[in-house]
């Protein structure tokens, strides 16, 4: 039945609707810069028409629900690409530090020390019994040994720096999983009333995206709106409102492993199962790249020490002694000049026969010749050449990682733009909506005023 009260009713509903719409618009405007916010729309539907004498009559509109404008598939894509971005970013940053260790652009690195080591032996060959020449051989050898030590400890520091980053990230991951679990609970409770929990969902999506950047995760949303998150080899991080933590532990090689703890408190080592995110990037640099570079450095040291020792022990010192090694130790960490030689320079074996002492310089020449000997890389490279290609290798790795990072960054930026275009708040649009709803509000208010006057007129008729 349609009457004036109905008009009031319609106007009242309209007023409420526009008020709600302005509220939603206000919310959008306030959250224009909130990260992860998806704009919300008020969904208004026409009310069920009433039966009137002349057929169905519209009964105004109802605000049905508030919807967030959101592309679910895009969200999944963004998470996946953010995971890769995290990995490249972590690798890029870690490798930049390592590149500094091999930075030879200033000419103060291993390349110079190695070259001066060889020329010192040539100087010795020009005056095998000379005290100054022996002092210089010892000094240049000490510089070489110190350079090896320094590079080793720098690589160690890089490795430890990565471990510190991993520990920090683990804490962040644990915070995020706790947040996701809490939000799961809130969303489930809110949506049990039948309405979408827009703001909580936005927050949870943001948390999942940040989590993806850290470590590779799989997510699954169940019927009641809760998301379960699993990592690496299927270990659950979040299920319902419960979350499981990750932790780290020092292993035998002095680096940290990532552990997952189940409900009973048992730990599972998931380090080798991690396949994305910053964690993967860090682990890759620490366990593959640093190990590779250190391995090559150690190869260089070991072969160099071996070859020199072999020649040196067949030679004779100024005091006639023979059979002495020049270097002790065989890795970049432990190589040293034999302490007997450090204390007595006469033991440096420049001569090749005992009767040739002191003028015979054949052994010094043999050792100096090692500079050009192809001892490395399956007998195809000199010591200097081997190090040069190691430096190039580091440079290339950094270059390709930087390029991959830039590419991935652009990719994520494009996806973000797309997300913005769907879910982002456009202030101009909201301004327009504001004007639109305000006019509608004014009109609805006018409608009420009109209905009120009509009532007055009727009452005055009596």
């Amino acid at each position: 039945m349609t009457d004036i009260y109905n008009v009031m009713n319609i106007a009242g509903k309209a007023l409420m609707n526009q008020q709600k719409a302005i509220n939603v618009t206000g919310n959008n405007i306030a959250n224009v810069n909130t990260p992860g916010y998806s704009r919300q729309k008020l969904i208004v539907e026409t009310s069920t028409p009433l039966q009137s004498g002349i057929g169905p009559m519209g009964d105004g509109a109802e605000a049905v629900r508030i919807e967030r404008v959101y592309d679910r598939f895009l969200g999944v894509q963004i998470n996946a690409e953010t995971e890769a971005l995290g990995q490249w970013e972590a690798q890029k940053d870690a490798l930049a530090f390592i590149e500094a260790i091999f930075d030879e652009s200033g000419d103060f690195g291993l390349s110079r020390s190695l070259n001066e080591f060889w020329t010192a032996w040539q100087d010795l060959s020009n005056n095998p019994s000379g005290y100054n020449q022996r002092v210089i051989v010892k000094a240049k050898s000490e510089v070489l040994v110190d350079t090896f030590h320094r590079m080793f400890s720098d690589l160690q520091n890089a490795s430890q720096g990565i471990d510190a980053d991993i520990e920090g990230a683990i804490e962040e991951i644990n915070l995020l999983t706790r947040e996701i679990a809490d939000l799961n609970q809130k969303i489930m409770e809110t949506e049990s009333t039948g309405y979408s929990a827009n703001d909580y969902r936005d927050k949870r999506d943001l948390a999942i995206k940040e989590l993806s950047k850290m470590i590779d995760v799989n997510t699954f949303e169940d019927a009641s709106g809760r998301v379960s998150v699993s990592v690496a080899n299927g270990q659950t991080l979040v299920e319902g409102n419960t979350h499981w933590s990750l932790s780290t532990q020092m292993n035998v090689s002095g680096t940290r492993d990532v552990l997952w703890f189940d409900s009973a408190g048992n730990s599972v080592d998931i380090t080798s199962d991690i396949s994305g995110g910053k964690m993967k990037g860090w682990l890759e640099v620490r366990d593959v790249d640093i190990a590779n570079y250190l391995g090559k450095l150690n190869d260089l040291v070991q072969t160099l020490a071996n070859e020199i020792n072999t020649l040196h022990s067949t030679g004779f010192g100024l005091d006639g002694s023979t059979g002495l090694d020049f270097f002790i130790g065989s890795t970049a960490a432990d190589i040293q000049i034999d302490s007997a030689i450090v204390n007595n320079l006469d033991l440096i074996a420049a001569a090749s026969t005992s009767v040739g002492v002191p003028g015979d310089n054949t052994n010094a020449i043999r050792i100096a010749d090692l500079q050009h000997a192809l001892m490395m890389n399956g007998n195809s490279s000199t010591f200097e050449g081997y190090y040069q290609s190691l430096v190039s290798e580091v440079g290339r790795k950094v270059q390709t990682t930087d390029a991959s990072y830039d590419h991935q960054y652009e990719m994520v930026a494009q996806l973000e733009n797309r997300r913005q275009s769907i879910s982002g708040v456009s202030l101009d649009e909201e301004m327009m909506n504001l004007v639109k709803f305000q006019h509608a509000y004014d009109s609805a208010a006018k409608l009420i005023a009109t209905a009120d006057e009509m009532m007055q007129t009727v009452l005055n008729m009596i």
Binding site: T119, S125, N127, S421, G424, V425, S426, M431
Partner: protein, 383 residues
């Protein structure tokens, strides 16, 4: 596509950041004058740079070695020149004394003795800290009356005599001239014309074993008529040579065996040329004994000695030539390496500054555009 405010601002920020980083890179290049400031700037180029630097440093070392080799040859040449001049003086004296009266011969003998000592000193010349003509035994004088004790055993005492003598006394001294042991003729036995070897147990007069080291000895010998017999020094070195590294795989060996100059020997030890010291000692003996025919003989031998030395000096000439051509080669090679290094490593300033200007322009344009786009919004126009 729906473009929101955030899309525009985010994109602008990204591009500004990109241009900033390009500007930063150029700034680094220009300030350091290098195109390659880290290995990742150009990995292959970095490897080449290290290679060039190493090569340049190695070439410097070769040039250094060549300098030293040249110095040695020059010094050797100078020394032998003085030896030759001294021998010339002796030859002149000897020619004069081959004939004539006897009164001047003793004076001549003393003169030749002094000149003999000069020649011995020249034979014992040092190059730096090392004796030049002793082969590998660079810490031992080439020709001198010295004997070494090592490991508690004394070497054989070697010396030469210009005539037979059954009255030879040896006095072994330390560096300060203190006589530590006197070996009497009875201990030594008869000495013969030429090289003599005497075994010594290394003990002093009191029977104590002396410490390891080098000792000096003097020889006093008299003939049957109790006239002095001149003695001469024997070679104490070995046949070692001095080798210099002139380049990768290129070596130059300079002979350092003094015998080849002063007392050539066959491999079996028999004399193979003129023993200059023996000739001088024989000359002294002949002068002291007025033996004119012997004097004349020694004069002829001195002529041949002059030839012997000249041949040695001539042999140095091709070696010097080799050193100079090698030096020239490296001196020409080095600037080429330096040029390659510069080309690979250094930044072309003109190009870099041009690029800087371009990017600056782009940057400023982006900033200006940003200002125009992100400022106005609908709010400015709503009343």
């Amino acid at each position: 596509m729906r473009v929101t405010t955030n899309t525009m601002t985010d994109t602008l920020v990204r591009y500004l950041a990109m241009q900033n980083s390009q500007l930063f890179k150029l700034q680094q290049n220009i300030s350091s004058q290098k195109r390659i400031n880290k290995p990742s700037d150009d990995p292959v180029g970095m490897g080449k740079i290290l290679n060039y630097r190493n090569n340049i440093a190695t070439v410097d070392q070769y040039l250094d070695n060549i300098e030293q080799a040249k110095s040695r040859i020059e010094f050797s040449e100078m020394t032998l020149d003085m030896v030759d001049e001294t021998l010339d003086v002796i030859r002149a004296i000897s020619k004069t004394e081959a004939t004539g009266t006897t009164t001047s011969r003793n004076i001549a003998a003393d003169q030749v003795k002094d000149l003999y000592n000069q020649v011995v000193d020249l034979a014992n010349s040092k190059f730096g800290q090392n004796f030049m003509f002793s082969g590998y035994q660079t810490d031992t004088p080439a020709y001198s009356h010295t004997v070494e004790i090592s490991g508690g055993t004394a070497d054989t005492i070697n010396f030469g005599l210009s005539a037979d003598s059954s009255n030879v006394t040896l006095k072994i001294q330390d560096n300060n001239g203190n006589v530590l042991r006197t070996l009497a003729p009875a201990d030594i036995g008869p000495g013969s014309d030429g090289i003599n070897n005497v075994v010594w147990d290394g003990r002093d007069d009191g029977g104590n074993l002396l410490a390891d080291g080098l000792y000096i000895f003097t020889v006093e010998a008299f003939n049957a008529s109790n006239d002095p017999v001149a003695d001469y020094a024997v070679y104490n070195g070995d046949d070692g040579s001095v080798t210099y590294i002139l380049g990768e795989g290129t070596r130059l060996s300079l002979d350092a065996d003094g015998r080849n100059i002063f007392s050539p020997e066959n491999p079996d030890g028999t004399p193979a040329g003129i023993n200059i010291f023996e000739v001088l000692a024989d000359l002294i003996y002949a002068l002291e004994n007025d033996d004119t025919s012997a004097i004349a003989d020694q004069t002829k031998l001195l002529d041949r000695a002059h030839t012997q030395i000249s041949e040695i000096r001539a042999a140095n000439s091709p070696r010097m030539y080799q050193l100079e051509t090698t030096e020239e080669f490296w001196s020409n090679y080095k600037p080429k390496l330096q040029e390659l290094l510069a080309k690979t490593e250094e930044v072309d300033l003109n190009e870099a500054v041009m690029q800087l200007k371009n990017i600056e322009l782009a940057y400023q344009t982006t900033l200006a555009t940003a200002a125009r786009i992100i400022q106005p919004s609908l709010l400015n126009f709503l009343k």
